[in-house]
């Protein structure tokens, strides 16, 4: 199959899909509660609060308390969706995520809102490019990065039905729809969006549509790009990675995150252990972002179709293709 981006496709902030799906779930299951750190507005939970005033718990600006309270609510038989801006949720409360949620093994859904560099001009304090590395290092914690509203909804449903803790990003940077109808959403499973035997691009979240753009450009030059959407950064789709390493000249990974320990590093671990192959890892590399809006910053770090195409061409050149 080949998924094609629609011409002039409408783009979406996934926070709305998150909030809509959470409210829908809450209508079906009285155990669903939302917990936030004064982030009712930025988590798009105003509608939830209006509909379920007793099931929205706001602990104020206190992220450590936020995650601990979430763990306690789960202990008491509820299914808490703990929502806060991703940098503060994962950075400030990392030890609570480790000890209270993951090590204690309670069913808390940690929702990192506005991740990556979507807060743009607000600067590196408000960017969350480290969250994937931090959370991936913690045992017993699936890490999900949805790519569009459909996948955001699927992630919310999956997380609600899980039995243990989950960390999911909720993208703010607007993206087009990239999920084919009937696509599977399951841990350890990626979605192959385009066929191609030259180079594989493994993308997650906001980078998926950019990988599809790159595939279209390279197709015009006769280069076949295999685009895999990898929504689960943990657990990875190891089989798809090994297949890509075997069947294509190399792998490009791209994520709206630091390259130190995120998707690319995870994929590289699988590749070197099972099927060594050349790779290019795209992301932010050892620096804090300069001032600029999110769109500017993604381009600044080469996190766009051009960056992907260049990396893919580099792998083909290296292979003498």
């Amino acid at each position: 199959m080949t998924f094609q981006l629609a011409e002039n496709a409408q783009t979406f902030d996934c926070r709305q899909a998150f909030a809509d799906e959470l409210a829908a779930l809450a209508r079906e299951d009285t155990r669903i509660v939302a917990v936030c750190n004064d982030s009712v507005g930025s988590s798009n939970l105003v509608g939830f609060r209006n509909e379920f005033p007793d099931r929205l718990i706001n602990v104020g600006i206190a992220e450590q308390d936020l995650v601990g309270v979430g763990a306690g609510l789960a202990n008491g038989g509820l299914i808490p969706f703990v929502s806060a801006a991703a940098p503060f949720l994962t950075g400030r409360a990392l030890e609570q995520i480790k000890a209270d949620a993951a090590y204690s093994d309670v069913h808390v859904v940690l929702c990192g809102q506005s991740p990556g560099m979507s807060y743009g001009e607000l600067g590196p304090t408000h960017h969350s490019i480290e969250d994937l590395s931090w959370t991936r290092a913690i045992a017993n914690l699936p890490v999900i990065v949805p790519a569009d509203p459909v996948q955001t909804r699927a992630a919310v449903r999956w997380a609600a039905a899980a039995t243990g803790p989950v960390y999911m990003r909720v993208p703010r940077f607007k993206v087009p729809e990239v999920t084919p109808e009937g696509a599977e959403f399951a841990p350890g499973r990626s979605i192959r969006l385009t066929e191609g035997d030259d180079v594989t691009v493994i993308a997650t979240g906001t980078m998926v549509s950019r990988a599809l753009e790159a595939a279209e450009r390279l197709r015009e030059d006769g280069i076949g790009l295999r685009v895999l959407n990898m929504p689960f950064v943990d657990p990875l789709d190891e089989q798809a990675i090994v297949d890509a390493a075997r069947e294509t000249y190399g792998i490009v990974t791209i994520e709206e995150a630091t390259v130190s320990g995120g998707l690319g590093a995870a994929v590289a671990s699988v590749v070197v252990e099972h099927r060594p192959a050349p790779m290019r890892i795209l992301g932010v590399r050892g620096e804090f972002a300069p001032t600029g809006n999110a769109s500017f910053l993604l381009d600044h770090f080469g996190l766009n179709a051009y960056g992907i195409s260049s990396a893919a061409r580099g792998l083909i050149d290296r292979a003498g293709g």
């Binding site: 206190a62 609510l73 000890a99």
Partner: protein, 293 residues
């Protein structure tokens, strides 16, 4: 996961019944006996493991004994019963005291205590809820148990359930900012079913709390955050029982339990160096002798 031992749970159910029916003096005498047995187990466990936090274990023992012996509605035969009272030891380094208490109640066989901190033991240096029944959340890093306890109490409120939540904190632990976040949340949500107990032994690892980072006026701090405060002798069973009565105002209850670190063993009492020092053979014998009087 360890499982209950029925002979011990039956004996403990009888103990609970006897305590409930006893006079005030009778209750105190029974709890004193239980506490003495728990303290002996603690010393034996630390002697065997050559590890442990003996000072804080001994200061918190009377608090734990009173809670499990006469207050908490928990069932060792059904430790996950949905409407059970929640007990959280936020000062998780005193796991030894908790394990000795839980074993005494029958949550798991007392023989298991001899594995304390041994390789692959269920009894880790800090409590693990996946291994030890009666443990609600994995504590150890300070400032974690209290917010989780606030969540447990909120869960009761959201669902209209009647369980109580009791969290025991170390006094040095009150230097953690997360505890003050939780201390603001509970009164805001009027969590009258929540009791926070501070084991106020006035010592932390390296020095006195007031030398390290001043906590006083501690009761005023809690009061100003909106808590109903009860300032009691943490080794006086009758006073503790009264302090553990439900809230009278609808506000959450803070019990400042004034204790002696190392309580019960004269040469350990109130000495900062006994935070996690391990007694030698002679000291173990002397301690056991004092705890058997």
């Amino acid at each position: 996961m360890l499982v209950a031992e029925s002979s011990a749970t039956v004996a403990f159910a009888k103990f609970r019944g006897d305590v409930a029916d006893a006079t005030e003096e009778g209750k105190s005498a029974a709890l004193r006996d239980m506490a003495r047995a728990v303290r002996r187990d603690i010393v034996t466990m630390i002697d065997r493991a050559q590890l442990g936090h003996i000072g804080g274990d001994l200061s918190v023992t009377d608090i734990l004994t009173t809670l499990f012996g006469a207050v908490l509605d928990v069932d060792p035969e059904e430790p996950g019963r949905p409407d059970r009272d929640r007990f959280i030891l936020s000062k998780g380094h005193c796991a030894g005291a908790l394990y000795a208490t839980l074993a005494r109640c029958g949550f798991f066989p007392r023989e298991e205590l001899s594995t304390f901190m041994a390789p692959l033991s269920m009894l880790n240096g800090h409590p693990d809820r996946k291994k030890v029944p009666g443990v609600e959340t994995n504590t150890g890093p300070l400032g974690h148990g209290f917010p989780v306890g606030v969540g447990c109490a909120l869960a009761a409120k959201v669902q209209g359930a009647s369980w109580r939540t009791v969290v025991v904190l170390g006094d040095g632990e009150m230097q953690e900012g997360s505890n003050w976040e939780a201390a603001m949340t509970a009164p805001h949500y009027e969590l009258g079913s929540l009791t926070a107990v501070v084991d106020r032994n006035r010592l932390q690892q390296g020095a006195g709390t007031e030398e390290t980072k001043r906590l006083e006026p501690l009761a005023d701090k809690w009061r100003s955050f909106g808590w109903e405060v009860r300032d009691v002798d943490g080794h006086d069973y009758a006073a503790l029982l009264q302090a553990f009565e439900p809230s009278t105002t609808g506000a959450p209850v803070a019990v400042i339990a004034n204790t002696i670190k190392g309580k019960g063993v004269s040469f350990i009492e109130n000495r900062v160096e006994w935070h996690h020092k391990v007694p030698n053979t002679e000291q173990v014998l002397a301690a056991m002798e004092e705890l058997s009087r």
